[in-house]
């Protein structure tokens, strides 16, 4: 193992940032869940709650040179990449002040200036794109790494499998993060993923594949740290499978009659925020008061985001025709 890329350990500030990220995602999603039920939020909304450790664990290893591509369940990745939360909320409400001026919605929040190549309404849409951003980083010599998040459903798409192959053939600085939350819509991954473990497919593409407890921030962070360092050093792509479950349905409104009781078990026993808080307070790295302060800060942030979103103007008819092309 080479050591040309520094594996720095997490400082107190890092841990606070990580907790803030995961708490912000959780609060954001719980709030969207509640607001959706009131009927104020249009369209399809897919919530990330339960999976926070993956977004935070991976993105806490990234910097300005790096790019991620996300999924339809993309709020967590956006927040972990630093996309403005108020603009995200406004976008979900379809407001002109939203990240995409109300033209994208929940499934298309993006901020290329933050290395966030977009949530994506197409399952398996992201992996080919990050092959491209990784290629650009490689050709331009920026040292940037690109990360594709996709789900167990996306893992079965030809686009994803082709991208794993291409990334290996071109030896791209890429990391493929399979977020296996157990269900593609209603369909169990134990049924739909023939290799059962998504990570097992990595061997077929000549890259390492590892399974990580997706509820454990430290496990996710460490695996991502190694994979990203390897990619930065020119070692090529890695496939990481995060195993966990989502706390909400496929989309808001899903009655989830296909599920058993795993959510209450996960919330009670496995929850990433709870585990993280327990761990860092046990080790004394952070105090309960530190965490409470972050909780309060995040609650205020989300409250303000919702209030601002509700009060924000809607796009106008003139906005309908703009930004189709740079120039036409």
């Amino acid at each position: 193992m080479t050591d040309t890329v520094e594996r720095k350990s997490l400082t107190r500030e890092d841990l606070l940032d990580v907790y803030r990220t995961m708490r912000t995602i959780r609060e954001f999603e719980e709030r969207v869940h509640a607001e959706f039920a009131t009927g104020d939020i249009p369209g399809f909304v897919h919530l990330y709650a339960g999976e926070e450790a993956s977004a935070a664990g991976v993105c806490s290893n990234l910097d300005d040179r790096d790019t991620i591509a996300s999924t339809h369940r993309g709020h967590g990745h956006c927040i972990a990449r630093g996309v403005d939360v108020a603009e995200m909320m406004a976008e979900i409400y379809g407001r002109r002040t939203g990240s995409c001026h109300g033209k994208g919605g929940s499934m298309h929040i993006a901020d290329l200036s933050k290395g966030m190549l977009g949530a994506n309404g197409i399952v398996g849409g992201g992996p080919p794109l990050i092959c491209g951003t990784a290629l650009a980083a490689k050709i331009k010599g920026t040292g940037g790494v690109s990360v594709a998040f996709f789900g167990d459903g996306g893992s079965n798409q030809g686009t994803t499998l082709e991208s794993l192959n291409l990334a290996s053939v071109w030896n791209l600085p890429a990391v493929f993060v399979a977020e296996n939350n157990g269900y593609a819509e209603t369909t169990s991954s134990t049924w739909s993923v023939a290799s059962d473990n998504i990570a097992d497919r990595a061997a077929g593409f000549g890259m390492p594949g590892v399974i990580v407890d997706g509820f454990d921030f430290f496990a996710a962070h460490e695996a991502a740290r190694e994979a990203i360092a390897r990619a930065r050093e020119g070692g090529g792509p890695t496939l990481i499978e995060m195993k966990f479950t989502r706390y909400f349905g496929h989309f808001e409104g899903d009655q989830q009659t296909y599920r058993a009781g795993e959510v209450s078990h996960a919330r009670a026993e496995l929850d990433c925020l709870k585990r993280f808080a327990d761990r860092v307070t046990e080790t004394g790295e952070l105090s309960r008061a530190d965490l409470d302060a972050v909780d309060a800060e995040v609650a205020a942030l989300i409250e303000a985001a919702v209030e601002a979103a509700k009060a924000a103007p809607l796009p106008t008819e003139a906005d309908l025709l703009t930004d189709v092309y740079v120039r036409y």
Binding site: M1, T190, N197, D200, G209, I211, A223, K243
Partner: protein, 351 residues
């Protein structure tokens, strides 16, 4: 229904941890785990095992065996006889080590006379903790494997079957089963066991579990240390080898800048110099407190227990580890007894 019962537990997650990424460790495919069980079923059937209790999993191993049984249904004459297979379902599967514990407990309760365990050191350790006095036959399908044997499953299946049917008595004088040693770690009221080694690490979190950076290891306790081992026990194996059947173990303090350095394969694909500041025999019985104030305890190469100031983890070598089947000894006994000899027209149904 007879009482020649074998339990088979297979860990679907073994062989997939971060060492695939950091040390190019091998991948053990799910399909091969399922194939191993099928080869064992043939061996079990050949020596007259009545019933097999098989753990269920979400990784696809039990599902593959189930499909194989389905394909045979109605076409049995074309295939070698398999025992009846009972799938231990009905319990929630958590995709954690607890699944292995639950399965082994059910096998013991259901009267298994031998338990075959497919996995690595970690799987064997967890299975052993639940097996009580039922002999264990650990087969390697993992990464960092010292404890389980790398054996053809058919041969292992014959050995397990001969024990289960009583054709080779488990407690006979031939040494076909023997007690392994055990390392016990206590941190407050938390207890973990290890079959090979216990290490203290300066890492603060369990994280991705595996240990691959020797600089983080400060203290090492080994139940045995073979010179040809892979993993942390290989460090001791080159300096003060201890056999599985020796009554004692070995303990060391490590420091990267120690004068004494040994080149050791501490993980697959990782041969590194390790500084050893002290090494001594570890006798069974006495309690050793670890030096570090805070850190993580790794058992059999996996970080399991984090501890903080005031917790003072304690390690003890015990002689009363799990009973383990010695495949070579079983089949040697079988040879002496002529158990696999047959006359023509032998009817296996009459056995």
């Amino acid at each position: 229904m007879g009482d020649a019962v074998v339990g088979v537990v297979a860990n679907p997650l073994s062989g997939r941890d971060i060492r695939r990424l950091v040390t190019q460790a091998s991948v053990f495919p799910t399909a091969e785990k399922a194939n191993m069980i099928q080869r064992m079923l043939t061996a079990f059937g050949a020596v007259g095992v009545h019933r097999v209790l098989l753990s269920t999993d979400l990784g696809g191993i039990s599902a593959a065996v189930f499909r194989a049984i389905g394909r045979r249904r109605g076409q049995e004459p074309k295939y070698p006889r398999w025992p009846e297979v009972e799938f231990l379902d009905g319990q929630p599967i958590r995709q954690t080590a607890q699944d292995t514990v639950d399965a082994v407990r059910r096998m013991v309760t259901a009267g298994a006379r031998v338990i075959v365990c497919l996995g690595g050191d970690g799987t064997a350790r967890v299975a052993a903790s639940a097996a009580g006095d039922v002999p264990l036959l650990a087969l390697s399908t993992g990464t960092n494997n010292v404890f389980p044997a790398v054996r053809e499953a058919t041969v292992a299946g014959l050995a397990a079957g001969l024990i289960a049917t009583g054709a080779v008595p488990a407690q006979g004088a031939d040494g076909v089963t023997a007690r392994a040693k055990l390392l016990e770690v206590r941190v407050g009221d938390r207890v973990e066991t290890a079959l090979v080694d216990v290490a203290t690490s300066t890492e603060r979190h369990v994280g991705a579990r595996a240990i691959w950076d020797p600089a983080t290891v400060t203290q090492l306790f080994c139940a045995f240390a073979e010179p040809d081992a892979i993993g942390l026990s290989a460090i001791a194996g080159q300096l003060l080898p201890v056999a599985r059947h020796d009554p004692h173990g070995v303990t060391m303090r490590l420091a990267p800048d120690a004068a004494r350095q040994v080149l050791a394969p501490i993980a697959p694909g990782l041969v590194v110099p390790v500084g050893v500041s002290s090494i001594e025999r570890l006798e069974a019985g006495p309690v050793h407190h670890v030096d570090a104030r805070a850190g993580v305890i790794a058992v059999d190469g996996e970080r399991e227990l984090a501890f903080g100031p005031g917790e003072h983890p304690a390690v003890r070598l015990r002689a009363d580890g799990p009973w383990c089947v010695d495949v070579a000894a079983v089949l040697a006994a079988s040879a002496r007894l002529g158990l696999l000899e047959r006359v023509r027209n032998f009817n296996p149904q009459g056995g």
